[in-house]
Symmetry: C2
Subunit: 202 residues, 2 copies
Amino acid sequence: MPEEPRRQARGQRRMVQLLDAAAVVFAEAGYAKATTNAIARQAGVSPGTLYQFFANKEALAEALAERYRSELAAAHEKAFDPGTAQLPLPELVDRMIRPMVEVNLENPGFKALFGSGDLPDKLTAPTRALQKAVTGRVAEVLAARYPDLPSDRLATTSAVATQIFAALLGTIVTTPATERERWISELNQALVGYLTPLDQRV
Amino acid sequence: MPEEPRRQARGQRRMVQLLDAAAVVFAEAGYAKATTNAIARQAGVSPGTLYQFFANKEALAEALAERYRSELAAAHEKAFDPGTAQLPLPELVDRMIRPMVEVNLENPGFKALFGSGDLPDKLTAPTRALQKAVTGRVAEVLAARYPDLPSDRLATTSAVATQIFAALLGTIVTTPATERERWISELNQALVGYLTPLDQRV
DNA sequence: GACAAACACGAGTAAATGCTCGTATTTTTC
DNA sequence: GAAAAATACGAGCATTTACTCGTGTTTGTC
């Protein structure tokens, strides 16, 4: 197997450029229809150069997903101080939702990698990783709020909550800014409604 | 524009065969990755024959979506007698959900046309039609239950409910039959949770 | 400054895929 | 039963697209 070359500064910059470009093209065309040539063009670079840094389209998507994952983690880190988990449910949900929506608005490519339920086969790998990261984050918060929730219930609940979230995210980011709050509040209601029974357990 | 030829009995049968085949291939590969040649092969027919009946891949998908739409309408027709709308919320939701899940299990292609949130561009046309049909059905039921709900709230609510439903449908039909009930009940809880506030309005 | 490693180019390739078209067979029409 | 219309075939065209490769340039190392 060919070793990863030792990247120099110029190379690092190129990789960032390429990821930026990929985000734009993924956002415009969706993962499946996005062509590597278009991504290279968007980055102002030849197709050969793209492949100097990423083995294939999937690797590119994976790297982009990784970037999103860490941006998301940072955003959540910022939004959560200890004690947040004990807030009233609507506020807790709001604090989970906001950062995600913002990351999404700032990184239009996000939805393309996160959103679509069933992309063909292996193409889903980066998607699944992202979904898993989000689900994990949700699980952490729920675990903090409901310490004695059985772990299988915890897993199910976070998975469902994440899927509900993913389902409405598309509408939220697509919608004009004026109407956005309405949909966010709708998403909030849905999640609060789903989670309320947990709050009312003995 | 070339006129639609007057179909003879043999042709009608072929069209059914082709739609069946398309459902199978869409289910296995998803819409985007499904090839028309594979569909023709699955139907035991040459590619040329396929195009004798459907102008292109999209027209094929549209026809299939239309078929699902009517199957769905029939299933719902069967599940609703007048008065259903006044049932307790969990039961009402259950009656909405069951037929959809069943149509899905019987027609594996359904999810491929209904599920994925943002397929590229025009490919979404058949998808949107299906989603719209389902949303419309949901709206009817909600309108019957909440006659004085303003029409914009009605539209929003049915759209959100449908999206929640679509999001969890994938998990439900993919999951082994033994665990299916658990996920159906989870979906039920999510929808009931979302709709409960409407029940409690003055 | 010389040598190697990393970077860059972009025309080109192989494979996939939606769809066509010339031809041949079956069914309907009269 | 003959002309017309519908059905059927399948090799292959045109296009797209992920990716390569030969060649040349820039950067780091000693």
